[in-house]
């Protein structure tokens, strides 16, 4: 019988299950379910005790929506001015090989807040809740004595719910980023200005921009007219990406989903709008960072900025997300805490994932991460330590698609589709040539197939959770196997 390596590891480290964890704490299920009131201090009998708590840093977790890794000026984007995110990059470590676990909002977010892959959280498509057996970051760190506060987009399943298990929620709107993000940043600014509790905090500032760009595709008829609506922009419109027309051979589900309705001017106007939306979220990030600095807590706060996924931005004629191509999968992962971690460091070597945020926070908080997480703490990388790192990261797409990214290659497999993809990301970073049937790379292809098989064996999948607004579970071929399936547990 195959043994889940994470279970082995957890046993070796004496890592408790969430249930065991909760049993050993003074806080019971009631506190877990309701979250902690703002400013409320936590009894000293929580894990780690008061001495540990004094050393526990705060966490400011900034989540953007649809922000591609290279949509930021400091990451080479010539079209957007992002002084605030750039400043964060200068003050910390930015990972240039950072990958979403699934370039769709809800699945990716489920990973960010649990450290588990979407097939392990049950959130395989949008608008599903995290499986009840999987603790979220708020629940886990709340148990460790953190004041856990959430403001902004959640989407697991509700977009902007008034309650989230494990968090105190500051209501901040919904719908579209240009209307809601300034409310989110203002609320976070107010929290950082007014908080009075002694407990360390986890503040999630979850912005919606530049996700609004979706409307420029959905409502293209009115928002992106055939005649450029602002002719004075002419020469200032961004250039099309070099792989705009690239159509590498692809599984059918990928091949069908190009956006062919725009002229070159319309594409360039779309890119112009996207960059403005990136700048809008940058301004809101700046407001929160300024409030953190004014609060006097900046030196003891680890700031993480990431995104759920990127945007097509005309690459491979794509808008929006869902694709295993880098435009959708690669996202910023910026970590800053002056004095604690390296500054102005660009890590272009280590493959990191949305899975890793949870483990990183747990590491700095001095608590064990939840059992069954595939995430790795970024702490040794942030502190410049030489450690053995993972060989690959994996992303899920379209429920049945899997992408394995190693240092040099990207391998894509859609269940039931004979066409696979293999890209040499060093020689062909724009993903224009599918090399999967290149005889000289047969061993590379086979090696990546093996990596995927091994990865799947490590997963602890759960049934897909119920899609918000749908009466029944939707089961798919990807989840037909019960091997390694985690049985649903009632909340502890």
């Amino acid at each position: 019988m195959a043994v889940d390596p994470r279970t082995q590891e957890a046993g070796r480290l004496g890592r408790p299950s969430r249930r065991q964890f909760l049993k050993t704490t003074a806080l019971g299920a009631g506190a877990l379910a309701s979250g902690l009131a703002l400013g409320e201090s936590v009894p000293a009998s929580t894990p780690g005790g008061s001495a540990q708590r004094r050393e526990q840093p705060n966490f400011l977790f900034i989540v953007c929506d649809q922000l591609g890794l290279d949509a930021i000026a400091a990451h080479g984007c010539p079209d957007a001015h992002t002084p605030n995110i750039d400043r964060l990059i200068r003050r910390g470590v930015t990972f240039l090989e950072s990958h979403s676990t699934n370039p769709v909002c809800s699945p990716a977010r489920s990973s960010l807040f649990t450290g588990c892959m979407p097939v392990e959280t049950g959130v395989i498509t949008n608008s599903r809740p995290i499986h009840e057996s999987v603790p979220n970051m708020g629940q886990w760190l709340g148990e460790a004595g953190y004041e856990t506060v959430y403001c902004g987009k959640w989407h697991l399943p509700g977009g902007y719910p008034s309650a989230i298990e494990g968090f105190t929620v500051m209501p901040a709107g919904g719908g579209q980023g240009d209307l809601v993000d300034t409310v989110v940043s203002r609320a976070c600014q107010a929290y950082l200005t007014n908080r009075s509790g002694q407990a360390p905090f986890l503040l999630v500032a979850s912005f919606l921009q530049p996700h609004d760009i979706c409307y420029w595709a959905i409502n293209a008829k009115t928002l992106v007219p055939e005649t450029l609506p602002f002719p004075q922009l002419g020469g200032r419109l961004p250039q099309l990406p070099p792989n705009h027309l690239a159509r590498p051979r692809a599984p059918k589900q990928l091949d069908e989903k190009i956006y062919a309705g725009f002229s070159e001017d319309q594409w360039r106007y779309y890119l112009y709008i996207y960059s403005r939306q990136v700048e809008m979220v940058d301004a809101d990030v700046g407001r929160v960072l300024a409030a953190l600095e004014s609060s006097g807590e900046a030196d003891n706060t680890i700031v993480v900025l990431t995104a759920d996924h990127g945007d097509g931005r005309g690459r491979h004629q794509h808008v929006s997300k869902w694709y295993p191509y880098d435009e959708a999968v690669k996202v910023p992962m910026i970590v800053s805490c002056p004095g604690r971690i390296a500054e102005n460091h660009r890590d272009a070597t280590h493959l990191v994932s949305g899975l890793d945020v949870m483990s990183t926070f747990c590491d700095y908080a001095g608590v064990q991460p939840p059992p069954h997480t595939l995430g790795k703490s970024l702490r040794p990388l942030l502190e410049g330590k030489d450690v053995e790192w993972r060989q690959c990261v994996v992303a899920e797409t379209h429920v049945v698609g899997r992408t394995v990214r190693t240092g040099q290659y990207k391998y894509v497999k859609y269940e039931g589709d004979p066409v696979e993809q293999l890209f040499d990301m060093k020689a062909d970073p724009w993903e224009t040539k599918n090399l999967y049937d290149t005889p000289a790379l047969a061993d590379v292809l086979e090696g990546h197939r093996t990596l995927l098989t091994e990865w799947n064996q490590r997963l602890k999948t759960v049934p897909p959770t119920r899609e918000f607004g749908r009466p029944h579970y939707r089961r798919t071929g990807a989840h037909a196997s019960t091997k390694g399936t985690r049985s649903p547990e009632k909340p502890t």
Binding site: S162, G173, R276
Partner: protein, 276 residues
Amino acid sequence: MATPTTEIQDHFPLDSVARCLEGFETPEAPFDPNGDWEQAYGIYSLGRGCLRVGGLHIRRHKAGRKRAVVRLDCARDLPGNCRQKVTAEIECRADPLATPTAWTFTSQIQDDSGQPIEHTPLAKSATGKKREIVIADDTQSRRIPVAAPYTLNWALFDAVQRLPREAFDPIQFTMLDHFDQVKPNQTLSYRKSAEVMLGRKRVQQHHYEQLEKGRIRKTTWALDGGRPARLHAYDHLGDGVLPWVYWVDDAGRLLFAVGGIEAYLLDRREEDGHGS
């Protein structure tokens, strides 16, 4: 030569708010953009249709020949019947950008009973100088470098009403969005003037059509009523903002501001005290 009358749908980006403007009543009262005035706007989300998500009440009072005070009350609807309330008082110069010299603002999120939610109230004041603004609260102040000329986003609602009704050299400026977000490289320029039918309503029209096997009744939609108004439009482009188009009437009164999927539409209900 008379200018042809056009429909809202003929004008980007007014076409995206056409449904919200059905039955719009063109203001008839005299209006002096250089004097004292008071206006109310509905704030609309255009992402999925045309949904009202809040309101903005704005008042201007002259303070001598060269200055004015603009007061704002803005409310945004939030989930759970909560709302964000923002108030501000802005001392401005009576110049083309309504340059702010000092302002105070408050922000809070209120619950469904109108009480502020814990930790959400904020109150700040600011002063604008030539190359910086200083924003302060009870405990500390922060200096932010700003390249002049500059203005606040909502001060533009005042400023655009005094712009020429014809082409002029574009105005370059820095914008302080929502009181404290510095956004450089802004441009305000003349877009066009047009005679536009406002206040039209969509009505059903029925007619009968004789087919080979019998007569059928067909229903179509048509625009009916309304009044022509001479409108003047200005473009606002820049870093960190979507392209905005401001539409003023012949008296200079700001009727509509549309930026991407967000819009402010003059709200007669609020003028009458019936707004949200």
